[in-house]
């Protein structure tokens, strides 16, 4: 999934989408994943990163990951698929 190129992600957890004027707040893992997505990491790379860093099993994370992606889509933070 491609994240809009021009969104600004701040370490504080604040995200500003200049194309819509909307702003968002994220928790720390939300910031990490959104940053990785913006850098072009795929699901496998992100899952590896998270499983290594946090106490979580892959099923739980996969479930939460898809939910997070859906929210990004719902908030129009992703590029429309070509």
């Amino acid at each position: 999934m491609n994240i809009k190129k021009d969104i600004a992600i701040s370490d504080s957890g604040f995200v500003f989408d200049p194309t819509t004027g909307e702003s968002y707040s994220l928790n720390p893992l939300g910031v990490e994943i959104l940053t990785l997505l913006k850098d072009g990491d795929d699901q496998k790379e992100i899952t590896n990163f998270v499983l290594q860093k946090y106490e979580v099993d892959s099923d739980t994370f996969e479930n939460n990951y898809y939910d997070f992606l859906n929210m990004l889509k719902q908030f129009n933070l992703t590029e429309p698929q070509a």
């Binding site: 504080s12 957890g13 604040f14 500003f16 702003s23 707040s25």
Partner: protein, 348 residues
């Protein structure tokens, strides 16, 4: 004389088209010749204009709505106080008064002074208690009756002449010219604000207002009467002028003396063609047009700060008649970084 440094926290920074009294209260305090005040703005919402007005508010903090409970609010204020060391707190919303009054002692323990009405004073002036209030303190009030069902409309019908005002317990008021309209308004208001519904005699005349400050011992520290010259579609005064009206002042000082009113207040009255004055509402706080009183020579916000600090305050004896206020709107330029700071840290 060197000005005394104090820290004052103020709510009601919503200087919108339905303005809160925060910004005008702060302007009054800023103009004080005795105080050099650091102003802490307390905001419920992240776009209250006062937050972004640098010359008005030195530092703004978000605070939780009264609906989240006094414990939550006190915890937040304890944190703010640990940073700011607040001397005086002035709440400016009706809806928050109860919570702040309840927490008065706790605030005092934290070193924060307030100057608020007592719970009895707040309770007995409630809209649905107005007839009893008028009787107790000898002021004219419109005849009114509480009703709780459509059936009651027929029961009390002979006690009123149309038109009547149909009012909700806390907010909303509509004029009705016949049973059917009463019935419609009853449905609309009860769905929103619950029961009872207040049916009130409609008094014809001019609405006039007084901003006043009582010292809690029966003395009137300040009082300025005003008539709104222009009213917006939201019913808010957009221009007003100070009046020379001895009757209004007498009603005000009598009421403050009998009730020993403590704190700021706004009296809303109707003056009829026969020069009768009917009290229609008593707001237990400083109104948003208080800066007119400051302009007319009575710095009521400053006096309130002094009372809160336990200082001796000489009552104001006069004010300038014919002073006017004209409200205007003004676009501030803000920045997304400010919004970020406020949203993420809860302070700016």
């Amino acid at each position: 004389m060197k000005k005394k440094k104090i820290v004052v926290a103020v709510t009601g920074l919503n200087n919108t088209d339905n303005p809160g009294p925060g910004v005008p209260v702060i302007r009054g305090i800023r103009e004080s010749k005795e105080f050099d005040a650091r102003i802490i703005g307390l905001a419920y919402e992240n776009l209250e204009p006062g937050i972004y007005m640098k010359e008005i508010v030195d530092k703004a903090y978000q605070i939780p709505y009264p609906s989240s409970g006094s414990d939550t609010l006190m915890e937040r204020l304890a944190y703010i106080n640990s940073v700011e060391n607040i001397d005086v707190l002035i709440p400016n919303f009706d809806a928050e008064l109860f919570t702040f009054m309840k927490s008065e002692d706790k605030l005092k323990e934290m070193g924060i002074s307030t100057f608020l009405p007592t719970s009895e004073q707040l309770e007995e002036r409630q809209k649905s208690n107005l007839p009893a209030y008028g009787k107790k303190y000898g002021i004219k009030v419109p005849y009114s009756k509480d009703i709780t069902s459509h059936w009651d409309i027929q029961v009390i019908k002979n006690e009123f002449q149309y038109p009547v005002l149909v009012k909700g317990k806390f907010y909303d008021a509509y004029i009705a010219y016949n049973d059917e309209q009463v019935s419609n308004h009853f449905n609309r208001i009860s769905a929103k604000w619950g029961l009872p519904i207040i049916i009130q005699e409609f008094i014809r005349g001019t609405e006039v207002n007084v901003v006043a400050l009582g010292d809690g011992k029966g003395n009137t520290i300040g009082a300025v009467p005003m008539r709104k010259q222009y009213i917006t579609d939201k019913g808010k005064g957009w221009g007003g002028i100070t009046l020379s009206d001895k009757n209004m002042l007498k009603i005000t000082t009598d009421l403050i003396s009998k009730t020993k009113w403590r704190g700021g207040m706004e009296l809303e009255m109707i003056k009829t063609v026969n020069n009768d004055y009917y009290m229609i509402e008593i707001n237990p706080r400083i109104p948003a047009w208080v800066y007119l009183a400051v302009g007319a020579g009575q710095n009521i916000p400053e006096a309130l700060v002094k009372l809160a600090l336990g200082m001796n305050v000489e009552p104001y004896k006069s004010y300038e008649v014919g002073k006017m206020f004209i409200r205007y709107s003004y676009d501030l330029i803000g920045d997304i970084q400010q919004f970020e700071k406020l949203s993420i840290n809860g302070e700016l």
